[in-house]
Subunit: 331 residues, 2 copies
């Protein structure tokens, strides 16, 4: 066991976000599906970067954002994700460690560069992600530091990991270790296209090995091949002990056994960039959950954190979330 | 002569800004002088980065910001500045080229990494800069592409260049080429501490080789060793044909021969980060000047651009400045 206990360990693709504003014409010309996450190879990354406008670089990655959110609430977070030993990798590691997140994954000495995602934000605040996974392909089961997994109340993994066989194996290994240690496991379904790619695998995984599922409306409907949200709710209720379903401005629904808890979205004056909304919702929820808060409060904390992150550019909180929660009377 | 004519060529230290929010306690503990620019070595850069919070990376550099501003107004800008052939250097080059700035300076193949400046922003919006010059030390007179200098109506240089002997030689070479081609030369005094370091050199330079001086109140007073702004105005009026003096919320003063034109600051609802205010003022002024606008209008364009850049984090415009100027009835 690790010398320290963690509230949450998150595992994901360690990605530096390269954020640029674009107009709708750009999205159409590049044949992108707005709101989606696209995996791109190095050649496409170079081509896309060459036609993009000036950008801002900021650490991201879905599970990395969640770890940052938990730390901002004052929770104890750990993170596994693979960067290369290059400038962007150093930036990524700094941004994790500087907020108190335990980040011990060894940097790759060779192979592809640290991952980046070209995040194109349209005037409506919607984001379209184009991710070059780079060094993330080198995350393997060997990176799953057993002592850290055993020391975490919840091990939370992003579905995106399933896009590479080695990372998928790492995911399964971590879930196995966590379960064997009597800890909780959690997955976010990440993206509806990602669900399409891994539906059968994930249904097996969720039934056999997952305690808490996070998904948005589109993802959970895709998982169960239905256009009907209520039908998807019934299905996930049978397959997983606890499901947390987010519905953008319609708020969220927590499903635990026969309980159904609906929590409204936290109001946002002006949506600037929706990147990280789901990641930060999970952060708020898991912070509350690992601190023994009632489910309604957990979801309210998630809504608050999501609202903060979509009110500015970038997928990590710009303010201290614990203070924000206190100001809002949520803690 | 270059195949294209440029409105303005700007020359400076090519720096990636690493922007982090800090509190006043941090500034005091690190013994920093708030609002100043400090040159730091690699060891101090590592030490400071290790204690800083999470950051955002974005291309900066004083003269680079000015070039970006001119391009945003629709002007034709070129830029000379040295980066290394590394990840941050690629980001810097992209951010210049993607906005249409001609950037042909060869990347250094070896030697120090691309420069970065740790910009610490306090809650009052003030910034304290800590700059590791890195690859900038390799900018030399050989980088002054004669054809580009000859093709630019104005060659504008940042005073910061004087902190390294080779860059200083490059500066003087560019001024010589510009003058020989019948073009205008311009300098910004950059920082009052920088003025202290180079006062005598700069007085000689301004009298012999500079057509337009940009300075803020503190810098111009430091140049003439006076506490009296009016005294400094009288002095610069004797030494340089055109001086553009900025005074933060008090607006700006343009001094040309016996003309004195005062222009108010453009109102800003909430100052978020003052980084780049002077750089963007120069951009607006020079855009107007190279398009034959009256001095009052040039200064008003400068005020507008400065106001835009201090209303958000980062030292380059987030909106199209030409459209903003049109909306404000300034063009």
């Amino acid at each position: 066991m690790h010398s320290q206990e963690f509230d949450v360990l998150t595992i994901g693709n360690a990605i530096v976000d390269v954020i640029a504003k674009v107009d709708e014409v750009f999205v159409a010309r590049e044949k992108l599906v707005k709101g989606s996450m696209n995996l791109i190879d190095e050649a496409r990354a170079e081509q896309l970067y060459a036609v993009m406008g000036p950008a801002t670089e900021i650490s991201g990655g879905s599970a990395g954002n969640t770890a940052a959110g938990i730390a901002s609430f004052g929770g104890k977070a750990a993170y596994f994700g693979k960067v290369k030993d290059d400038q962007l990798g150093a930036i990524y590691a700094h941004d994790m460690k500087s907020i108190g997140v335990h980040f011990g994954t060894h940097k790759a000495a060779s192979g592809p560069a640290t991952a980046r995602s070209f995040i194109l934000v349209t005037p409506d605040g919607e984001r379209t992600m184009n991710t070059y996974l780079g060094a993330c392909v080198n995350l393997t089961a060997a990176d799953m530091d057993r002592s850290v997994v055993e020391a975490a109340k919840v091990t939370y993994m992003e579905g995106y990991l399933y896009d590479k066989p080695e990372a998928k194996a790492a995911f399964r290994e971590a879930a196995k270790i966590a379960r064997a240690a009597g800890r909780l496991t959690s997955i976010t379904l990440s993206d509806s296209f990602c669900v399409e790619r891994h539906r059968d695998d994930w249904l097996d995984l969720i039934k056999s090995s997952i305690d808490i599922v996070f998904a948005n409306e589109s993802e959970i409907k895709t998982l169960y091949k239905t256009q009907n949200f209520d039908g998807a709710v019934t299905a996930i209720h049978k397959d997983c002990p606890l499901a947390v379903l987010t519905r953008s401005e319609k708020g969220s629904l927590v499903v635990r056994g026969d309980e159904r808890i609906t929590v409204p979205a936290h109001p946002v004056e002006h949506v600037v960039d929706v990147t990280g909304a789901g990641d930060l919702f999970a952060a708020g929820f898991l912070f509350g959950y690992t601190h023994g808060k009632p489910l309604r409060q957990c979801a309210a904390l998630g809504s608050l954190a999501a609202a903060e992150v979509i009110s500015h550019t970038g997928a990590r909180p710009e303010v201290n979330l614990l203070q924000l929660a206190q100001t809002n009377g949520l803690i």
